[in-house]
């Protein structure tokens, strides 16, 4: 197995510039998540890799096989790329049984009938659907259909398997189970995979590396922990996790440390900006890092507790002061009234 390289790919659909020069590397055996809001181009990038859309710039290759290279006018048709693709809607052929759906790729590759039978049965039992081979897709549940779609893409052992939001059609509870199941399957079989999703939790759970796309460009890429704990841009910081946003004036910015001032208080954190003191700045902090205190102190703001909400495993507290709203978690409810909200300096990024 070889690595997949995407170099500076740009793609237009009609008049819309969807991808504006995206590069990507997927080493053998690695699971990469393409994460981004809708319209960021993640599905288009996946379809370009599969050969279903044609970039007008850049190249895509796997090992020494060039899939497409706009500069050299090379465009290998989708059917010659030998990749596996799992569609968001599963796209199971309704006129074929589960067995025939899975077997089709092998039939096209001229595999003998006997071998097709063994290989399809092996794949179906790997995904735990061996007993449903003779059913038609509409006789299966959503979760089962999704597994068949994965089996169909796996059976001819593609170098990379492409997954286009495969879990988004499942209901919330099933999705979490399927996420664990899919991660285990990919790791056990040692597959290379590209997994498209708009759900940051899913991306972090399933992938070795997350590539965050924003408006057709790579915003940031790295391991899930790196992306969550060290966002490089405001977009990355806000897209990952649940956040509080503090707008104030930059009062200090040197050697990686920065401080903003609001309501006359000074909040210091980690600098993610090149602006000089006096400029407007935005502080971002994860909700779960906000702490509540009863007396003033460094990096604390006096705020009014508005609405405590019971979430089951914890309480969510909403604080307000003028037009600033801050959310925090607490193990127990606090009394309404004035409190001090602390933003720890190692959990506050200043942009």
């Amino acid at each position: 197995m070889a690595e997949l390289t995407v170099k500076d790919v740009a793609l237009r659909l009609g008049d819309n510039e969807i991808l504006k020069g995206v590069s990507l590397l997927v080493p053998a055996g690695e699971v990469v998540a393409l994460l981004g809001p809708s319209g960021s181009g993640k599905t288009t990038l996946l379809r370009a890799i599969a050969g279903l859309e044609t970039p007008h710039q850049g190249s895509i290759a796997i090992g020494n096989t060039v899939f497409c290279d706009a500069a050299r006018g090379i465009e290998l048709p989708a059917e010659k790329r030998g990749l596996g693709l799992v569609f968001q809607s599963y796209a199971l052929w309704p006129h074929r049984t589960v067995f025939d759906n899975v077997a089709y790729g092998l039939t096209l590759r001229g595999v003998s009938t006997g071998e097709i039978k063994t290989r399809v049965e092996k794949t179906l039992s790997q995904i735990g659907l061996g007993h449903l081979a003779s059913r038609y897709p509409h006789q299966l549940s959503g979760g089962q259909q999704q597994r068949v779609a994965i089996a169909r893409a796996l059976v001819y052992e593609p170098p990379v398997i492409l997954l286009d939001e495969p879990l988004s059609n499942l209901d919330a509870k099933l999705r979490e189970e399927a996420r664990a199941w899919l991660r285990t399957l990919i790791v056990t079989l040692g597959l290379s995979a590209i997994h498209v999703t708009h759900d940051q939790v899913e991306a972090m759970a399933i992938a070795d590396r997350v590539v965050l796309l924003d408006a057709g460009l790579v915003a940031q890429e790295g391991t899930p922990t790196a992306l969550y704990n060290e966002p490089a841009t405001l977009f990355a910081a806000e897209f990952m996790g649940a956040n509080n946003r503090l707008t104030g004036t930059l009062v200090e910015n040197s050697s990686g440390r920065a401080a903003i001032e609001l309501f006359g208080e000074r909040l210091s954190g980690m600098s993610r900006t090149k602006a000089a003191a006096g400029a407007k700045a935005t502080g971002i902090t994860r909700i779960e890092r906000v702490r509540c205190a009863s007396n003033p102190g460094p990096n604390r703001l006096k705020m009014q507790l508005k609405a405590p909400m019971y979430l089951g495993e914890r309480w969510e507290l909403v604080f307000a002061r003028e037009n600033l709203t801050v959310r925090a978690y607490a193990p127990a409810p606090l009394d309404p009234g004035e409190h001090y909200v602390e933003f720890p300096p190692d959990a506050l990024w200043v942009f």
Partner: protein
């Protein structure tokens, strides 16, 4: 075979088949004599002759009057009918729907014959009226009667498009009007019908256009009063000068196409606009029909009255006529019942051939036509190229040619191209003419089915390793199988009904019921005509019954 080769092949053949007859007609119109006449020269003689003929202008204005009049009748009635059927609680809607569509599927000549034998000067209802009232209160042979009949028989066309648009319209708009205090009539006039105005407008242009295609009704009902429309003028021209006056006919054809082509183009634009208007419906919410209360049965009676006038009167007339020797004042119908007319049918070998040919063209010809339409539709399916526009326009070309005209053009092609001549007197010529005339209709049926195939089903096969053509064979075609079957049934119905396209191609070996009816009517063989009409209606009835039974949507 690479897909490009297949696509270009299909495109080439389609272009040839569509453009050749048309160009031959245009070419012929600029000759001074028929194209096979060695003395024929290029010139405008034929144009100056036709345009100087007062009969031509008379026919032209009559056509305009009929087309305009029938549009004025069909559009309001059709839109209202659609509102009643789709949105209100008119009783028996499920059973009325297929009945409403009957005028679309029954041959216009059969309807026209039916009117003659039912309410013509000596028709069954006319004699009945004379018995009771002492006089006949209507006159079938008048321009007004022709306009009313044409209008009433085209109500279903307006109904189809209005009903489709209404079904696509979210009902909450109407519910909002009701909650604000509007009664059902106000809801229809103030909300529903304005919302589907683009569809109604499209249907209006369609009916106006169909007015120029009218042939059976003016031929049968206009002839006794020497009332000519463009199509019947063309038909009469065949024998006007004693010699084949092809150049004059070609000019008339060019004149007809010069009117119909812009109308076809307009329909296309309006249809696009109408589709843009469709507001997306909520999630399959079954909404309560609008209660009409005391108007419920009045609306029902109105629909039944229309059905009586357009379907039951003519079909009852023609059926009764086929089972009696004669009727008239003082004749007891029970004493004149007979099956002789049907026995007579079997005695004419050309009629027997005609019946079998009609079945053959419907069943086998229909299947072949659907196969061809599918081949064309598959060639442009998911083809991301400007060439698909060409196919769009190509398909529209035959639409501008009424059946009579297309049959004539094809006859000339068979005469003009030496190696095609042997096919002229075979059913191949009829099949080709029918398939070309109904190209746009058939393509719409098949493309409609193709639209329902989700693209990712095909993309999944591509990524699994199937070539374009393999994807079509293994995925696309199996998925549209039911749609193709439904198209076959509908094409069967229109091929069996068709009468005008085969007229110029009629000869030993190419008899079909439709063209035989027209030619037999000319000889005055009413007995034979009524029996053969009933045979035709029964064939269509069986086809319709099968279609309804299988749940086929009766419109593309």
């Amino acid at each position: 075979m690479p897909i490009v080769v297949y696509r270009l092949l299909v495109l080439g053949v389609t272009t040839l088949v569509v453009v050749a007859p048309l160009s031959l007609v245009v070419y012929q119109s600029f000759l001074t004599a028929p194209f096979f006449d060695p003395s024929a020269k290029v010139g405008l003689l034929a144009y100056s002759f036709v345009l100087a003929d007062p009969d031509f202008w008379q026919a032209f204005w009559t056509t305009i009057a009929i087309a305009g009049g029938m549009t004025a009748i069909a559009v309001p009635l059709g839109a209202l009918l659609a509102f009643l059927m789709v949105r209100t609680d008119v009783p028996g809607r499920r059973y009325l729907e297929p009945l409403i569509l009957i005028p679309i599927f029954v041959s216009a000549v059969v309807i026209a014959f039916g009117y003659v034998v039912a309410i013509g000067p000596v028709g069954i209802f006319s004699t009945l009226a004379k018995d009771i009232l002492g006089f006949v209160p209507w006159n079938l042979y008048s321009l007004l009667a022709l306009i009313i009949i044409a209008g009433l028989t085209h109500v279903p066309h307006v109904y189809l498009y209005s009903a489709a648009a209404l079904r696509g319209l979210s009902t909450d708009l109407e519910e909002a009007a009701r909650v604000s205090g509007a009664n059902p009539f106000r809801v229809a006039v103030n909300v529903s019908l304005p919302m589907i105005l683009p569809a109604i407008l499209f249907a209006g242009v369609l009916v106006f256009f169909l007015g120029f295609e009218l042939f059976g009704l003016p031929l049968v009902l206009g002839d006794p009063q020497d009332l000519l429309v463009l199509s019947t003028y063309l038909f009469k021209l065949t024998n006007k000068l004693g010699v084949p006056s092809y150049q004059l006919m070609a000019v008339v054809v060019v004149a007809i196409i010069a009117i119909t082509a812009p109308l076809v183009f307009m329909q296309r634009m309006l249809l696009r606009q109408a589709q843009r208007y469709v507001s997306v419906r909520g999630k399959g919410l079954k909404t309560q029909p609008l209660p009409l209360h005391r108007w419920r049965w009045i609306a029902f009676a109105g629909i039944i009255l229309w059905l009586c006038l357009t379907v039951i009167v003519p079909l009852f007339g023609i059926t009764l006529r086929s089972f009696v020797v004669t009727w008239g004042e003082g004749v007891n119908l029970l004493n004149v019942l007979t099956l002789d007319h049907y026995r007579e049918l079997i005695e004419y070998p050309n009629v027997v051939r005609g019946i079998f040919n009609t079945l053959g063209i419907g069943v086998i010809g229909g299947a072949l036509a659907v196969a061809c339409y599918t081949a064309i539709a598959l060639a442009v399916h998911r083809w991301n190229s400007g060439w698909t526009r060409l196919v769009d326009y190509l398909v529209m070309v035959p639409r501008a040619m009424p059946g009579l005209v297309a049959g004539l053009a094809l006859l000339w092609v068979f005469l003009f191209v030496p190696f095609l001549s042997p096919l002229k007197s075979t059913m191949v010529s009829i099949w080709l003419a029918y398939s070309i005339v109904w190209l746009a209709y058939g393509m719409r049926l098949v493309s409609g089915t193709l639209l329902q195939v989700a693209p990712e089903l095909e993309e999944a096969a591509r990524t699994a390793g199937a070539t374009d053509l393999r994807v079509k064979r293994d995925v696309t075609v199996p998925l549209i199988k039911y749609g193709m079957l439904a198209s076959w049934l509908l094409v069967f119905l229109i091929f069996v009904r068709e009468y005008s396209t085969g007229i110029y191609l009629l000869g030993p070996g190419t008899e079909v019921i439709g063209s035989l009816l027209v030619s037999l009517w000319g000889t005055g063989a009413v007995d034979l005509v009524s029996a053969l009409s009933v045979v035709n209606v029964v064939m269509i009835g069986v086809g319709l019954a099968v279609a309804v039974r299988l749940g086929v949507r009766l419109h593309g």
